[in-house]
Symmetry: C2
Subunit: 341 residues, 2 copies
DNA sequence: GTGAAAGCGCTAACAA
DNA sequence: TTGTTAGCGCTTTCAC
C-alpha cells in the first residue's frame, strides 16, 4: 500500500537494484532478456519500493494510452432498459484483464452523434472506442469506420453492407423464436406480436423470429400483430386493442420489456390474470422491471456479460493488428421464465 | 473533423503560424501573454490544423492526468436500484465542463474494498477518485482519507467522526418526513414503516424521518414498524404481516423501492388495490421499477443529477487546493407522487 | 511579447 | 546480458 513515501521511478528502482534504468524497464517489458538472478534482484526492488510505471510517461513513449472511450448518453427514463449497468461492469472487468481501462465521455451537443470522438482521438487520450448506441442506428460507427479508428460496436451495422468494423450483437430472431416455442409448449396457439415500427432494424429482427417460427409451427400470424413505439403506454393500448377482439390472443409476445410492462398494465385494468390460466406475456431484455414486477415477467435476457467479453476480445485483436477475418459475434439471448407464462 | 492527416503537434502549429513552439503553448495556457494579432494567427493555425495538445505529454509534464477514478461494482440484480446510470451520466457530463474525465475500474478481488485504488495512484493514472459504494459502509473512503488522496464520496461517513474528506449525501430523514406529510394529507393515520435492519445507517436515517414526523403529527409509531433486508421477498412478507393484524395500517412507507415492490406483490396477492381507496405505498429511490409498475409507485427521487454536479464541484475545489471549510452537501430527495398514493 | 533550453519518466535502438 | 543515447510532446524557467 502506498503511503506518503515519494513515488518510485525507474531511476529509484535501478539504483536500489544496482542496475541501469533500462534493465529495470526490461525486467518489466521483456523479462526473458534478463539473467534470472538480475531479474530477481530487480523484481525485489520493485516490490519493496512499490514501483508502478508512470502511465503518462509510458503513454507518451509508446504512443498508446491503453484507454478505451465510451460515450454515455442520458439515461432513458420511463423505459425498462437500464441495461447499461450490467454491460458496463462486464466491459470494465474484461478490460482489466486485457490491461485496458474504460474512459467515459459525453457529448457537448447531445444531438450530434459524432461529438466527442474526434477530440479524444486528436489528443491521443484513447486508443479505441466502444460504441453501444446502436438502437437508434449509429452514425458514429460509420464515421469511425471510415476514418479507420479502432473500435468495436455492440450492435450490427444494420443496412450498411460496406461496414468493415468488428461488432458483437444479440440474435433477436433466435431469441423470439425460442419464446414462440416456449409459448406453444405451454399450449398457446394464438400468439400476438406487439412490436415496434418497421423502421427499427432490431424490431424487425425480433419480429422475424416470431413470424418464422409461428409459420413453421403452422400457426397464424396474419392480423396478429401491432406496431408502435417503445413506451409503456403503447404496450398498454396495444394489449387492450388485441384483447378487445372477438378472437383474442392467449399470449402477447412483446418486442421489449417496456412494451410488455404496458401489456401487464392492460391486463390488470381488465382484471385478467397474467400467466397460466390467463394471458401469457413475454418481454425482451430481462430488465430489472421484469424481475421485480408482480408475477415476474418472462423475458429474453441480453447476454451482456458475454457481450462485454467478446467486445474486448475483438478490441484487443484490432489494437494488436491481429486480423480476424470474420470479426463478428452473434450471441443468443436466454429465455428467463417467470410468472407471466 | 480529423482525417487521415497526420496529427498536429505544437511544432506543426508553430511552423504554420510562424512562431516558436512556446508561443503556441502560451496561446493555449496563457493567452493574455500574447499580442492580440499573434494570438489570432496562432489560433487560426490551431483551428485549421485541428490541433489538440497530446494528453500524455501534457500529463507527463504537469503531473496531472485530469482523470477521476470510479470503481464499479457488479450490478445488483433483483433490487430496484439501477441508479448508477443516472449518476454516472451526471458525473461524466459535469466532469466534461470541468476538463475532467471519468476512468472506470474494477477490483481484481471483489471482496477487497481497497483493491485497485493504490495501483492507479502509484502509476499516476488518475488524479482523484469518486467513491459511491457507501450503502454498505466504505473502507475505501477512510483509507483514501488517511492517505490524503483527493476524493469525494457520495454518501456520508456514517459513524466516522474523524473523517475529513468532502462528501455529498441525500437527506433520507427529510425525504421520508415529507412522505409522511403527504400520506397524512391524503388522510392516512396508520402509517407503518417497512425498514431495514438497524445496522444500516442509511436505513436509520430514513426511519428517523418517519419516527420524528409521525410523532410531531401525534400519530402512533409503537409497534408500527418492521425491519429486514433489501429484498422484494422481505417487503412482501412484511406487508402480509402488517395487513394480517387486527388493526392494519392504511399506508406502508418503505425504506426502498425494492421493499415497496414486495409490498405491492403482497397487496396483489390479497386482492387489495394499491393507492386511494386501498392501501397507500411509498418507496425510496424512484427507480425504473417505480416508474413502470402497474399503478405507478410513489417514491422519493434521488437527486442524482445534482449530486453529480456537487461531487465534481467539491472535487475541483480539492484538486485546486481550494479549501471549503465545510465541504459537505446534503440534498433532499423529491417526492414523486404516482398511483400508489 | 517572444524564443531558447531543459527535462518530466519512460522505452526503442544501438553499443558494449 | 547490460548500459548508453536519444527523444516522445509538452510546459516551465529564464534570457532576450
Amino acid at each position: 500500500m502506498a503511503g506518503q513515501r515519494p513515488v518510485a521511478t525507474l531511476a529509484t528502482v535501478a539504483e536500489a537494484a544496482g542496475v541501469s534504468r533500462q534493465t529495470v524497464s526490461n525486467a518489466l517489458n521483456s523479462p526473458e532478456l534478463l539473467r534470472p538472478d538480475t531479474l530477481a534482484r530487480v523484481q525485489e526492488a520493485i516490490e519493496t519500493l512499490g514501483y508502478r510505471p508512470n502511465r503518462a510517461a509510458r503513454n507518451l513513449r509508446t504512443r498508446a494510452s491503453h484507454l478505451v472511450g465510451l460515450r454515455v448518453e442520458p439515461a432513458l427514463e420511463g423505459t425498462a432498459s437500464g441495461l447499461m449497468d450490467r454491460f458496463l461492469h462486464s466491459l470494465v472487468e474484461t478490460c482489466r484483464t486485457a490491461d485496458l481501462h474504460v474512459l467515459l465521455f459525453t457529448a457537448e451537443d447531445v444531438n450530434d452523434p459524432l461529438d466527442g470522438y474526434d477530440g479524444l482521438l486528436q489528443s491521443a487520450a484513447v486508443d479505441a472506442f466502444v460504441v453501444t448506441d446502436t438502437y437508434r442506428g449509429n452514425p458514429a460507427a460509420s464515421w469511425l469506420d471510415q476514418h479507420q479508428v479502432p473500435f468495436v460496436a455492440f450492435g450490427r451495422p444494420w443496412g450498411e453492407p460496406t461496414a468493415t468494423h468488428p461488432w458483437v450483437d444479440v440474435d433477436g430472431h433466435a431469441g423470439v423464436a425460442a419464446a414462440v416455442d416456449h409459448l406453444v409448449d405451454r399450449g398457446h396457439r394464438r400468439i400476438a406480436w406487439v412490436g415496434w415500427q418497421d423502421t427499427s432494424f432490431i424490431g424487425e429482427d425480433r419480429r422475424g423470429g416470431w413470424l418464422a417460427r409461428m409459420t413453421e409451427r403452422g400457426l397464424p400470424t396474419e392480423g396478429w400483430e401491432l406496431r408502435g413505439e417503445d413506451t409503456v403506454d403503447y404496450g398498454r393500448r396495444a394489449a387492450h386493442d388485441l384483447l378487445d377482439r372477438a378472437e383474442a390472443p392467449t399470449a402477447l409476445l412483446c418486442v421489449s420489456d417496456t412494451v410488455a410492462m404496458g401489456a401487464l398494465h392492460a391486463l390488470a385494468e381488465r382484471g385478467i390474470h397474467p400467466g397460466p390460466g390467463g394471458v401469457g406475456v413475454v418481454g425482451f431484455d430481462d430488465s430489472l422491471a421484469a424481475q421485480l414486477v408482480t408475477p415476474g415477467l418472462t423475458s429474453l435476457r441480453q447476454p451482456l456479460e458475454q457481450i462485454g467479453v467478446e467486445v474486448v476480445r475483438l478490441l484487443k485483436d484490432r489494437l494488436e493488428l491481429r486480423t480476424s477475418d470474420e470479426p463478428h459475434v452473434i450471441l443468443s439471448p436466454e429465455l428467463v421464465v417467470r410468472g407471466t407464462t
